[in-house]
Amino acid sequence: MAEGIEGELRIISAQVEDRPGVLFKVTSLIRRRGFNIETITVGGTEKEHISRITITMKCDVRVVEQLIKQLSKIPDVMKISELTPAESVYRELAVVKVSAQEPSKRSDLLNYIQIFRAKVIDASKDALIIEIVGQPKKVSAFLDLMKSFGIVELAKTGIVALTRGGKSAAD
């Protein structure tokens, strides 16, 4: 097992050039260090031709610092930093298909959906598809509840995050 793989969940946010192969270069380096990526999201930013990759993984602080230095050596990486929970906001989205064949359970289910401010995005005779957005803890708490109803299928986006305040991550 790679050194320093135990530890807290850390969020790395990188702005990279939007072109083929860049994601591969980033993940290849992480693979080489032996880390397991917990979540990874890639999408656009406020700038054209720049994508943001948000990666979460478990490792200790010394390792994440060194990894960030190595990742920043990839020429396509424009900016990269760790986003600490205190200084950033982060969200995750999950869509979950829950079995809802018994009418008696449907009302319970709808109650929970309301409490968690989740949303029903599709309904059929035997199932509901529910969307939930929030901090990862909230999402997992909701999903834990859904288990008792019977989760048919589940998809999660992974975490997206930004730093708080008026500055951008690399200012």
Binding site: G21, R32, K69, S72, K73, P75, M78
Partner: protein, 565 residues
Amino acid sequence: MRLSGAKAIVESLKKEKCEIIFGIPGGMTIPLYDALYDCLSEKGLRHILARHEQCAAHMADGYARVKGVPGVCTATSGPGATNLVTGLAVAHMDSSAVIAITGQVPRFMIGKDAFQEADIVGIATPVTKYAFQASSASEIPGMIKTAFMLASTNRKGPVIVDIPKDVMLEEVDVDYSDKVKIGGYTIRSGEPHPYAIKRALGLIIGSERPLILAGGGVIASYGSDELIKLAELILAPVATTLMGKGAIPENHPLSLGMIGMHGRGEANMVAEEADLIIAVGARFNDRTIGKMDKFGENAKIIHIDLDPAEIGKNVKVDIPIVADAKKALAALLLRLGEMGSKRSENPWTKRVESLKTHFAENYKGQDKGLNPGKLMKILRGVLPPNAIVTTGVGQNQMWAALHYQVLEPKTFITSGGLGAMGFGFPASLGAKMAAPDRPVFNIDGDGSFIMTEQDLATAVTENIPTVSLIMDNRVLGMVRQWQCMFCDKRYSAVDLGKVPDFVKLAEAYGAEGIRIETYDEFEKAAKRSLKAEHPIVIDIPISMDEKVLPMVPPGKTLKEVVWFG
């Protein structure tokens, strides 16, 4: 200007002042070679036809390390490109500016398992500084320029440019604009931060037992003069890594030679006793520092490196200085000079001296046949200070590292990080192309030489007169040594048998083969080879029981040196 992609490659190479291309043509680089056809007769661009792409890459590497400019190699798609990979990995580990241009199957076939297709960008990414593929001919000038910029700036490294055949054939308007921009890559000044220098000065002045550990970064930055001046000013002994050999002349009174697993005992002992280690352009490799968490336990460490990612990677340091080695050393010198803090002889310098004298006896070695250490000393006596030595990998390399005194920077070329057997001979050819007026000797082993021996054909046909010294013990000696010392002499798959006859082998290629039996014959053969105008192979019988000693066994600290195995 309207040009084909292939022409644009050639024109771009010329614009980057490339003088030599090492390579082998193939199906997907036929357009490139067609474009080269018109230039090769002109002075200024030469193609060296290698016999194996790995050799082409090692040649480009040897050339780059001696000349201080990027070395260029080329190969066709698929097997040609994959054969380059070992050479690129060597250059990556040793921070050498190698540029590889590979052919690729036409764009519409990519990803469809076409004949001779390999995803070379995918394969080479982890072992290069950068890897990219052209998607149109108009990109080529910018890509070649970017490749040279990336390879030769900041911490140097190999770059691969993969170009599909149809892109080479495509005719477009090309633009050699000056702008090169790639992501977040910036060429750093390499100037040290004044605060870091100030803190380092404090440690240096406060230290009683300083040691300088010089790595390849000192040589790459041309920082030897500054290094020597600093060492002399603070009377710090200088140990080097394998890559740092030549950073200080090894006959200098303050030189300790190489440190590490097969380093010199006095260098290792001094590292254990020092209270301050100033590591310059070195990256604390496991072969350098012994047991990782024990290295420098009793010392403060100042780490100067151009690459921020090296700081704290292997050992915790007290003062990091992210800077070019030469510039950081110059800054330290300037400030120390202002303080007028030249040191005089002290208990530490005496201790270092006494360690050197104490261990001197231990290097005599045994007298079973020819002693490698003695051969290295004879060779040093024969070669002028600016002669270039390349090495294979294994015992031959460590004998050279231990016993061959390097007197000038960039005259000891070895596969330090990757440890690729077969590197020495092709690297010697590249080195000779970079320095045609200087003798180039390849200290090799029989196992190592055999891995790239076919390029004797290149040496003969292209008339590149280098001399290979084969430390011929008929075994894979380093593995055998470990099996002897750590596996209870259970020699497993290390016996190479009595083949080939290296003299006949050399002759078969049209080179000269010499077999020597005595020190005297060796000296004569080496002297005669100095002026030779053709490639020479000198076969030197060595006992297979000859070991590389001293040695720090794996997992041990540097002071646990084994002198006699």
